[in-house]
Amino acid sequence: MNENENQKIMGKISSINGSVIKVIGFSHQSIGDMVNVSEELNIIGEIIKILDNIAVIQCYEETLGLKLNAIVTNLQYPLSMELGPGLLNSIYDGIQRPLDYIAEITGDFISRGMKVNALDREKKWKFIPSVKNGEVVREGDIIGYVQEYALRHEIMVPQGISGTITGISEGNFNIIEKICSIKNKNKIYNQKILSKWPIRIPRPYHKRMMPDQPLITGTRVFDLLFPVARGGVVAVPGGFGTGKTDLQHSLAKLADAAVIVYIGCGERGNEMADLLNSFPKLVDPKNNHPLMERTIMIANTSNMPVSAREASIFSGITMAEYFRDMGKNVLLLADSTSRWAEALRELSGRLEEMPTEGGYPAYLATRLANFYERAGLIEIIGNPKRIGSITIIGAVSPGGGDFSEPVTTNTKRFVKAFWALDPNLAYARHYPSVNWSNSYSLYDNLAEFWEENIHKGWEEYRKAINYILSREGELSSIAKLIGPENLPPEQQLIIYTADLIKEGFLIQNGFNDNDRYSSPKKTMKLIGLFLKFYNESLSLIKKNIPFFRFKELEVINSIRRARLDVNNDNLDELELLDLMLSRDLLQIHRQYAELL
């Protein structure tokens, strides 16, 4: 990657069509080369096609006011991310320009032609080596670290470099100063803290592993029914207002990960403002650092340039891979991948490519795969041996809420969990509006970890709830025909319990302090209550005790609202409800035992 242009390669604009321009006259050109468009406007672009010596370029900024025949310079390096300390607690646009820094220069509105470094060149970081002079290192090896907030930011030997360490010592360095040399025969590589990586190329790894540990989300319906594993891939499709963004925000705040990469891809400016407002005030309970300090935000909102929107998810995943390679668990949230696909469609249209269904280009599926396949639980290259993960949870915004459209169907091929959001549940303010019959998770190998490390009974509870919810699905349509009172009591109990579970367990109010986050313990104890009610009532019903008696239990109302009333730190209250439930059921039993 060659940052200084030793030889100027120039051409002239022969056509402008929206964000796509054509350039004649480059003596050298490769796909992926970055270009500077117009000496007056200094727009950034990337060569995406070469046709009969004409470069086809997508511009990362608005082309209004750009002139025919304006000069374009080929910079001859690919679109790359700057990687190093300073990434955390930052907010970038789709091509890694720091938005807060841009605001300092251009004010409240984003103007064109801003060339700024992604990472601060001045700031000094205290580098602490973990290898000694004379040691031999290879690519991927960790040679030391700098402390970035709560994160140990490892410094790694870049790809293709190996040799003997010289001149390494503890000290304060900025990211472009030499921290040591790596000598290989007569070649010397000067190692800096800063490294770069082209966004379209996945960072190499040693080995892929089967994800087998849960990523705890704090949202009951996921942790219990539709779990995601560390290194897993989830799609969250749903029409507008079904709660995709809210869900992504809540995961960014509460999910158990070392680094969060949040990509606001073609969505609302105010949603980014919301995150920027709330994150600095919220703390990560694990280390009491503000949440912002484990977060990288990418904001390429709907009104920002569409090519940069296309780049944004690859920018995000490249940064995620960098932290993965340190051996961290990274969670990448993308809201929304449909907007990314639409950016692809728009560019494809301007290139006059043959469209397929819905106007999307034929390579939609390939590009989706390029993105999702970069998730995973990974054994990293280099010493010391380490394992890192990237979990991707991507929102999908199907047009008209129709899941048969191309982005949803193609995405489904690459994900292993599918959290289908349902407008009817959202209308009823049942949030998260996860439809329990259309959603699925293929991460069903997490039981062992749950049983051993978190809480017993996970698998068993899952089965029980699934049974109740699916039976209720069948029975409620019959109930609608003949009236619920005319069903046999066992079946009435199923319908009744399912309603309790929906209201008292599946619904989770993001605005309630007690309910927002449900610890795995609270989740398990809470569902335990509902299942206990079901099982014990069922056995009593079988002894011919009439069903209406169970509906009249005083304690039921308290159990129904326990999710709101009981704090994660106060789970004794759930034990108390458990005791009260036992007592009340026993009382019914006694009353009838005398009669029967």
């Binding site: 006011g65 750009l66 103007s111 709907s302 009104n303 728009e346």
Partner: protein, 458 residues
């Protein structure tokens, strides 16, 4: 410098095509002057290459011919700008920003490009000040916030004009800061324009600016008028610290104009013939609502979207809903049953109310009460459906309470007519209609609020 072209090759209303001469560095998006036999027209460069320039003519291409010497085309160096001024307040303009109220021309304080630039997301101030519309279904369940974009989804023949007039006339904020309303008519009927004019005059039009593109005005103007209105709004909000409420009626006309031009350009359509970039295009309009840190003014948008065939999944309402911060949906069923305003609560949503309502703003119980009303009304609808199948005799006692609640909700809470209610009034009515359910059913409301506000049945 000004080169005059007479070599049109193609005319496809409203587009003109010509081949630029060598070394003429035409600007993408620049303005074009078209001199015809019967006057000057204005155009804009849509795309440009060494082979062909595509020009969109705002007034349309009727009467422009190929091979006639009469049509002269010249390219100006600038992109579309308008002059803006505080003098515009109280005035009426056409879709190009030219006064149509018989008054003097405006002396601009400033020239501004109508396309605007995106607000840097880090500079946005998160909207949090409520606007009281006086309508319970808005204020109680879908609170409007300063700086929000909250559309009204409506259908042909529903009383959206009446509702808008009511909102514009009654909207209040809790401070005395300067407040201006901009009404932007996009392809509206002359009669509707007249209706709004009369309604607004009831309250006085000294704080109102109107931009009117009538249904009979040029189609391309529909693509320009919202940008002119928003540019004016930005000038007033961010330069002169005013709170601006802007009504865009009707964005369906805008989207249809967009489709028309796209189809003529021969672009590949996405859904229902609408271009693939419609989402981004609409976003470039809707995202101009908001607040900016350190500036006092704000821009609140109420776009009106007519749902073709009452279909909320049609691309225009669909893409709008994906961009705006909620939606207020009008119901034909309510309307037919005489409920006004006919706002259907379950399909409606205000995404920004969550952080804006509550203690110190509306009332502490607001969020819980709204959530309970939604849940209970939804349950009411299910029970009503069940009742219609199995008959009211088979309905349980609890279910009967919900039926009672539901009818009170529709009759008193929703159907308020043209009366005006404060937030307090709205919440008190809510507690009254929740009363038949009994406190035990109110599981979405904190116990302390139940103690404080629950109204025992008389």
């Amino acid at each position: 410098m000004s080169i005059i072209y007479k070599n049109l090759t193609t005319v496809k209303d409203p587009l003109l095509y010509l081949k630029p001469i060598k070394h003429h560095n035409i600007k993408n998006g620049s303005m074009v002057r078209i001199k015809t036999e019967d006057g000057i027209r204005t155009g804009q460069v849509l795309s440009v290459s060494r082979e062909i320039v595509v020009i969109q003519v705002i007034e349309g291409t009727f009467g422009i011919g190929v091979g006639t010497a009469e049509t002269e085309i010249s390219f100006l160096d600038e992109t579309f700008e308008i002059g803006v001024s505080r003098e515009m307040i109280g005035r009426r303009f056409n879709g190009m920003g030219i006064p149509i109220d018989g008054g003097d021309p405006i002396l601009p304080e400033e020239m501004r490009k109508i396309d605007g630039e995106p607000i840097n997301p880090t500079r946005r101030a998160y909207p949090k000040d409520v606007i009281q519309t006086g309508i319970s279904l808005f204020d109680g369940l879908n609170t409007l916030i300063r700086g929000q974009k909250l559309p009204i989804f409506t259908g042909q023949g529903l009383p959206h004009n009446k509702l808008i007039a009511q909102i514009v006339n009654n909207a209040k904020v809790r401070s005395n800061e300067p407040f201006v309303t901009i009404f932007c008519g996009i392809g509206i009927l002359a009669e509707s324009a007249l209706y709004f004019q009369q309604k607004f005059e009831e309250r006085g039009t000294t704080r109102l600016i109107s931009f009117i593109n009538l249904a009979s005005d040029p189609t391309i103007e529909r693509l320009i008028v919202p940008k002119i209105a928003l540019t004016t709004a930005e000038f007033l909000a961010y330069k002169h610290d005013m709170h601006v409420l802007i009504v865009l009626s009707d964005m369906t006309s805008y989207a249809e104009a967009l489709r028309e031009v796209s189809n003529i350009k021969g672009e590949i359509p996405a859904r229902k013939g609408f271009p693939g970039y419609m989402y981004s295009d609409l976003a470039s309009i809707y995202e101009r609502a908001g607040r900016i840190r350190g500036r006092k003014g704000s821009i609140t948008q109420i776009p009106v979207v007519t749902m073709p065939n009452d279909d909320i999944s049609h691309p225009i309402p669909d893409l709008t809903g994906y961009i705006t911060e909620g939606q207020v949906v009008l119901s034909r069923d309510y309307h037919q049953r005489g409920i006004f305003p006919p706002i259907y609560p379950l399909a409606s949503l205000s995404r920004l109310m969550k952080d804006a309502i509550g203690e110190g703003s509306t009332r502490e119980d607001h969020s819980d009460v709204a959530s309970q009303l939604y849940a209970a009304y939804n349950k009411f609808l299910q029970i009503k459906e069940l009742e219609s199948i199995i008959g009211s005799d088979s309905i349980t006692l609890v279910d009967k309470k919900y039926l009672k609640f539901g009818s009170l909700f529709e009759e008193y809470f929703a159907n308020q007519g043209e009366t005006e209610r404060s937030f307090e009034d709205t919440l008190n009515i809510a507690w009254n209609i929740l009363s038949p359910l009994g406190a035990g059913e109110l599981i979405r409301i904190k116990k302390e609020y139940i103690k404080k506000y629950f109204v025992k049945r008389r």
